[in-house]
């Protein structure tokens, strides 16, 4: 694998405009380091030596300082990932519900190991930690969009579609997937225009609300509160 050590003048000029905007958001410039690392990852699909050098130069840091930060965070990749980066949650809850089986199935099906990409560079695979979607277990993420309630079969179909270039739709996300590089650009703080796509909430997010509606349950009416319990010191009243 070739890894570049500096960006071309054209790339650098373009990224410097973005970098300036990012740095401008913060009271102190160093706070821009995480978004800048997402930005260089958006350029190359991983954080290369050139990306590190660029961040260091923008912030007046040494390359060693930037490298120390980049290597601390798992979302920064040291090797190119696929256009579609698949993360299977194998933290306890998802693992027990079938995440382990899904991960094994995908490794075999794609013939890759953890943190490896297919030869065509389309799909890479990783097992991830709890992605805050346990009520939708087992959970698979593609480019950090939710694919909820997966099975080994559905996950196989998903990666086949990704390799074939067929459209796939996250369960709670935009109407279609963006690439890993586009996703990284969003993480750097540059919004795309897809926020209003996809559902506001789905399935498990709504079960409590639906049950409350069905049974006529609600928070108390502020204009008709039940009498407050009598307090010992009579000090409970507040202005």
């Amino acid at each position: 694998m070739s890894t570049t050590t500096t960006f071309s003048d054209e790339v650098k000029a373009r990224l410097e405009v973005d970098a300036k905007e990012i740095i401008g958001r913060y009271p102190q410039s160093r706070s821009a380091l995480l978004p800048l690392l997402h930005l260089v990852q958006a350029e190359e699909g991983y954080v290369s030596a050139a990306g590190i050098a660029f961040c260091a130069e923008q912030l007046g840091l040494t390359k060693a300082e930037v490298t120390a930060v980049a290597t601390f965070y798992t979302m920064y990749k040291r090797r190119p990932v696929g256009d579609y980066h698949v993360g299977v949650c194998t933290n306890t809850l998802c693992a027990v519900m079938g995440g382990d089986e899904i991960f094994e199935t995908l490794k075999e099906h794609l013939e890759v190991g953890n943190n490896e990409a297919t030869e065509d560079g389309r799909v890479s695979l990783e097992h991830v930690e709890c992605n805050a979607a346990c009520d939708f277990a087992p959970v698979v993420m593609v480019n950090w969009e939710f694919f909820d309630n997966q099975t080994p079969e559905s996950a196989k179909e998903l990666v086949d579609d990704l390799r074939l270039g067929n459209d796939v739709r996250p369960t709670r996300g935009p109407d279609s997937l963006c690439t890993f590089k586009q996703a990284s650009r969003l993480l750097a703080g540059f919004a795309d225009d897809r926020a209003t796509e996809g559902p506001q909430a789905a399935g498990p997010s709504l079960v409590g609300l639906e049950l409350a509606r069905e049974r006529g349950w609600a928070a108390p009416d502020p204009d008709d509160l039940p009498p407050a319990p009598v307090l010992d010191e009579g000090e409970g009243e507040t202005k």
Partner: protein, 439 residues
């Protein structure tokens, strides 16, 4: 489990009450359900009165530790001339915890309204939302809501003509559980590796850029508008005396209808399971976490424990984030715990030895035990390591790692020994899966 009797506790949707509107995440929809009314009220109130209001509501932090929110705000030193910051902790990464993410996806404006009110109350004009990076669509929704709020004059200069200014920056993390710990989060937000800082000084005194800073969880801040709109008595009419109000109870795992149940604190697991259709058909509850993997596991003995800070504490665990992960009788507790410890080992920031080394060794031992290659003596070794971890680690991640190990040995010692005696795992993992339920 009884299904005929109505549970004594009813659900109280507040933050989730508009989630069934398809456009719930838009400013217009939020306004149609009363959104930003509380902000008007707040901006006509003296900031100190708002701090007192949140104090007397008894609102306690919803990010896990349960520290009283108003009290935290009142710790900001009055005489420090530096700018003050409000930092919202949207890193949601504690295994099992899955409430802030659906909240921000469906209702980002309730968080923003809470941010403006809270920032006004603590006299801050710069807020940050530190959101974990692995949730793209949530980040889109947050940024969209922020843009809408700026356009409508709800953020930026002279908000609603009050003279109050506030800027909000959405900052995406990059994959590190430890950045949920508030001081590690601040280091990360300053552009460093996310490693916890020594406390004291607490962030209120010296936080972001060594300035006075309030760090609060998403759900804590999002609860503030409802308190301002409906009053302290309304809030304290829900929950218990020391654990006031409502919160999300997130059921996951082997339960018929997993999901978000917004209820008064003090509801019991028996009541919640009843609402959720019970443990999945044909199986029994084996163990559960009351508030994520860092809270000691409980069993069916604790079905009637009120889920408030005090009662769960007395039962030997912690309320934590109300992440109720439910495991039925098909689940191997050794496997479950081993996987959690692998997580802590992976996420340990490496700053202190008890956590860095302790978790590394526990992974080795648990791995052997799970495969049936361990010995009974190794249970004592595990407890020894926990002894060195609990209370001796630099931050609460280390304490959290000891929880599943110690509690599982306490409740399920025999199951560990079964692995040793049978030379392997007595469970068929396929039966635990969603699709293996009836195989």
């Amino acid at each position: 489990m009884t299904t005929d009797a109505q549970p004594a506790t009813a659900l109280t949707p507040v933050l989730s009450r508009n989630w069934d509107r398809p456009d719930s995440f838009t400013l217009q929809s939020y306004r149609e359900t009363g959104g930003y009314e509380a902000l008007r009220t707040a901006l006509n109130t003296d900031p100190d009165s708002l701090v007192n209001m949140v104090k007397s509501s008894g609102l306690r932090g919803r990010g896990g530790a349960g520290f009283p929110t108003g009290m935290k705000w009142s710790f900001l030193p009055a005489d420090n001339p530096k700018p003050r910051y409000l930092v919202v902790n949207a890193d949601e990464s504690e295994p099992g915890t899955c409430k802030d993410i659906p909240l921000m996806l469906a209702n980002p404006h309730v968080l923003l309204e809470g941010i403006v009110i809270s920032a006004y109350a603590i006299r801050s004009s710069q807020a940050f939302i530190y959101v974990r990076g692995e949730v793209l669509h949530v980040i889109r929704r947050l940024k969209h809501a922020v843009a809408e709020a700026y356009d409508a004059g709800l953020l930026g200069r002279d908000i609603l003509g009050s003279g109050f200014d506030l800027d909000v920056v959405v900052h995406a993390g990059a994959g590190a559980y430890i950045c949920g710990e508030e001081t590690a989060l601040l280091d990360s937000l300053e552009g460093y590796r996310g490693q916890p800082r020594l406390k004291p000084p607490f962030p209120a005194v010296s936080g972001l850029y060594a300035s006075p800073t309030v760090v609060n969880n998403v759900e804590s801040i999002a609860s503030v508008p409802s308190i301002v709109a409906n009053g302290v008595e309304w809030f304290t009419a829900m929950g218990t005396e020391k654990s006031a109000g409502f919160g999300f109870f997130s059921l996951s795992g082997h339960v018929a209808r997993p999901g978000q149940y917004e209820a008064p604190l003090g509801v019991t697991l028996r009541e919640l399971l009843d609402m959720a259709g019970g443990v999945r058909a044909g199986h029994e509850l084996k163990f559960w976490t009351p508030g994520g993997s860092s809270t000691p596991i409980l069993t069916d003995e604790h079905l009637d424990t009120p889920l408030d800070f005090e009662s769960v504490g007395s039962a030997g665990s912690m309320l934590g984030t109300r992440a109720l992960q439910i495991f039925d009788d098909t689940t191997c507790v050794v496997r479950a715990v081993g996987r959690w410890i692998a997580f802590y080992a992976h996420e340990s920031c490496g700053k202190c030895t008890p956590c860095r080394e302790g978790n590394f060794w526990m992974v080795q031992v648990l791995d052997r035990l799970e495969k049936g290659e361990g010995t009974e003596d190794e249970l004592d070794k595990l407890l020894d390591i926990c002894d060195n971890l609990l209370g001796r680690a630099f931050c609460a991640l280390g304490d959290g790692a000891a929880s599943p190990v110690m509690s599982s040995i306490q409740h399920f010692r025999q199951e560990y020994i079964d692995h040793v005696e049978q030379g392997g795992c007595p469970f068929d993992h396929r039966k635990s899966t969603v699709w293996g339920a009836d195989s």
